[in-house]
């Protein structure tokens, strides 16, 4: 009975959302005054929250008459994972996603004020459009409350063991906060096409920055999770699922940079609107790719072509609708502004151009196999990681290189001095030399590219920080931006170091045997065994000695077996030292008693995620400063 109540809540939320959309649209075209519809979103939020908890109740009480619970949970699962198992599959994760959309709409409604109530109704109505499309999809084709009668098993299947992990429990919600937040700038952009002009660029910039912060953190968490949980020490695989989160991230990054220009200079207006639309379409394409099973990916959901088709229809409908609105609208730029080649406008244009090109080529590489299969009569291909590395590195290089000087330029209304330009070049050259000297014994082309990128960004931040002596406000105003830019530099530094200076070795060891890698000696000293409520594992104990300073520590990688799903998991063991990670993962135990293991060192790999955290903090700071000190 209880799951049905959850379903009824969903249907109510769906109906209210449809009605809100229809009445705002009706009121716009007929000029009939209506009430403040923004209060509806509170009701929708509580209905979705109730529905969420109803499903949680089924999970926590092991109600295996609910098909979704039976497929994703198990009585022996620890309580904590029973709770997070809700978003371990397609239906539940979608329910979480719509709940998060309603949270964004509610927060937007609370924090933004409009002089005309119709304007606010109109903005929210476009969010309702997305919300009810997804709610309809859940209710009619992906219902998490669907029953399984008669009950097939009393034990459930299991939550995929890979997902029984802390990072997994927080990675999807944070990522969804990122995606869902982009619906706000999307709605603002569409509303702008309907002549809602009040503070639209400020709103777009602020809300994009906030959702971008979540998106950054969500992607970084996913990468971190893949690094230690997939067991083999990679932090990015150019997998379709990862790419479909990176594309909206790049578009959102372009979007708030473009919104800065629209806000200050009243140009790039149409471009900002287009980007806001494209970011959300990017999210939907990603959702389609991940959930339809059209691409072979390491972590796509259980697959169903019918659902894929419906998602494709929703994506197409929203795309067509937004483009229709966009091309019918009549938004113009301030034509009196002509920006010169050396100006902030021009550098932000370069930034946007390269970010969008990056997004397009990543998306292209991701979906190319689909088109290939269609046009070659069924032959399937895969696009390898080298493609992505080859195309993204040069473009990312120019992006980072122009970023350093770009932040120092002024709007074209005031002259840009040659002094700033030459100072920047000198600082870049100096920093590059310092980095080259400090960090690398030898310099490959790849290292030089990395060093130039990092130096250029840091030069920009440094010089802009020095300007506080002229103007204290200037520093405070740009603190968020500078933090985020340092974050990018830190991440690039991590990527560069780990890509060119990692070492790795695959070994067969018996107890008592040792091997060396980099400046560490690894000795397999013993074996162990442990049993938990839902799995048991074999453990190999390694003693690792740092040959430079004689320090030693133990690492205990595991091979875990989950009986419920009959699956084997590789639990890597990682020692974090200031400079690098020492990483061991077990492959298998041979009948002779020897272990096959992979040992690796990963210099500065933590910088990749540390940088992402800085970017996220910068974004949140920037949003809250604007909110608190308008």
């Amino acid at each position: 009975m209880i799951p049905e109540i959850g379903n009824i809540f969903l249907i109510f939320a769906f109906s209210i959302s449809v009605l809100s959309f229809l009445s705002s649209t009706f009121s716009y075209y007929s000029n009939v005054q209506i009430y403040d519809l923004s209060k509806n979103i509170y009701l929708i939020f509580f209905l979705l929250l109730a529905s969420f908890f109803v499903l949680e109740f089924s999970f926590l009480t092991d109600d295996f008459s609910v098909l979704y619970v039976a497929n994703n949970s198990n009585p022996n699962l620890p309580m904590y994972y029973k709770f997070s198992a809700l978003w371990g599959g397609h239906e539940g994760s979608l329910l979480l996603f719509v709940l998060i959309i309603s949270i964004w709409m509610m927060v937007f409604s609370l924090l933004s004020s409009y002089t005309k109530i119709e304007d606010k109704n109109l903005v929210l109505s476009f969010s309702h459009l997305v919300l009810f499309s997804l709610l309809g999809f859940i209710i009619f084709s992906s219902n998490p409350f669907e029953r399984l009668i008669p009950i097939a098993s009393m034990s459930g299947t299991d939550l995929n063991p890979l997902l029984q992990d802390f990072a997994f429990t927080i990675h999807p919600p944070i990522l969804y906060f990122g995606y869902a937040g982009l619906i706000i700038p999307f709605s603002l952009a569409l509303a702008r096409c309907f002549n809602v002009t009040e503070a639209w660029t400020t709103h777009i910039r602020n809300w994009t920055v906030l959702s971008w912060s979540f998106l950054t953190l969500g992607i970084a968490l996913g990468s971190w999770w893949a690094y230690y949980e997939l067991g083999w020490g990679g932090w990015w695989f150019w997998d379709p699922v990862e790419n479909s989160s990176l594309v909206p991230w790049l578009l959102a990054t372009a979007l708030f940079h473009s919104a800065i220009v629209s806000n200050s200079r009243k140009i790039f207006n149409n471009w900002t609107i287009l980007l806001a639309i494209l970011s959300v379409i990017g999210c939907f394409i990603g959702m389609f790719l991940v959930r339809s099973g059209i691409l072979t990916s390491v972590h796509s959901f259980a697959l169903d072509p019918e659902r894929g088709l419906i998602l494709l229809m929703i994506t197409l409908a929203i795309t067509l609708y937004s483009f229709f609105v966009f091309f019918k609208s009549d938004v113009s730029d301030n034509n009196s502004i002509n920006y010169s080649i050396v100006s902030k406008e021009y550098f932000l244009l370069i930034n946007n151009l390269f970010l969008v090109i990056l997004a397009v080529i990543i998306l292209f590489g991701t979906i190319y196999p689909i088109f290939y299969e269609i046009f070659s009569g069924g032959r399937t291909i895969s696009v390898g990681a080298p493609y992505f590395n080859l195309v993204t590195v040069p473009i990312a290089f120019f992006l980072a290189f122009f970023q350093g000087y770009g932040v120092l330029t002024k709007w074209s209304s005031s002259p840009n001095s040659i002094k700033t330009f030459s100072t920047t070049l000198i600082v870049i050259a100096f920093l590059s030399l310092v980095f080259s000297y400090l960090l690398f014994n030898y310099l490959s082309l790849f290292n030089v590219i990395g060093i130039l990128m990092v130096s250029s960004i840091i030069a920009g931040v440094l010089i802009s920080a020095i300007r506080i002596f002229d103007n204290k406000r200037f520093f405070f105003n740009n603190l968020g931006m500078n933090l985020a830019h340092i974050g990018i530099a830190v991440t690039i530094f991590g990527i560069g170091a780990v890509s060119s200076h990692s070492s790795s070795k695959e070994v067969i060891l018996e107890i008592g045997e040792s091997t060396t890698l980099s400046n560490y000696e690894f000795t397999l000293i013993a074996e162990d065994f442990k049993e938990e409520s839902n799995f048991y594992s074999q453990i190999a104990i390694f003693q690792v000695e740092n040959l430079t300073n004689g320090d030693s520590f133990d690492l205990k990688p595991e091979k875990a077996f989950y009986p419920a799903s009959r699956s084997i998991m590789t639990e890597s063991a990682i020692a974090i030292t200031p400079k690098e990670d020492v990483y061991i993962s077990l492959s298998e135990r041979l009948n002779s008693g020897e272990w096959i293991a992979k040992i690796q060192t990963k210099p500065f790999v933590r910088f990749i995620w540390l940088g992402s955290i800085l970017m996220c903090l910068g974004g949140i700071f920037s949003f809250s400063r604007r909110l608190l000190f308008k």
Binding site: H299, Y339, I361, G365, G384
Partner: protein
């Protein structure tokens, strides 16, 4: 020509050139980095050039797995129940690699020896998941 018109031409030129370079980059990178999929039957009937990296997939044939004594070398056979191809690989096997289960390997095929030298064996997350291509190859 007026200054602002000149600027506009620079901007358009810059955008145009960037896009052209990117397109060039994409297609040249694509040429070398796509891996076509072959089932054992495809390999028999229509073998690829041995300098081209491809993917081969099917089921790991029962009792075909041989492990070299003192190295990480592994030999096994992939079958689509019509034809088989022998595979050699040096390295770690993914957790879900089992006889009679689906597998996709990336590497080079040498038709004269009917041997596939793999440099990567794909891991799949899910016990019940059969790669789309493998499913098709078995039909």
């Amino acid at each position: 020509m007026k200054q602002h018109r000149k600027n506009r031409i620079y901007v358009i030129l810059f955008i145009g050139i960037s896009i052209l370079i990117s397109i060039f980059l994409v297609f040249s990178a694509l040429q070398e980095n796509i891996n076509l999929f072959y089932s054992p039957t495809d390999l028999q009937n229509n073998p690829p050039m041995s300098d081209k990296s491809i993917r081969a997939g099917g089921l790991v044939k029962e009792n075909s797995l041989i492990r070299d004594k003192d190295s990480l070398k592994i030999f096994f056979e992939i079958t689509d129940l019509k034809n088989t191809v022998s595979v050699s690989y040096e390295g770690l096997l993914p957790d879900l690699f089992k006889e009679n289960k689906g597998v996709v390997a990336t590497g080079y095929f040498y038709p004269s020896a009917n041997e596939f030298v793999a440099y990567e064996i794909l891991a799949k997350h899910d016990e019940n998941y059969v790669p789309k291509e493998v499913k098709k190859a078995l039909e």
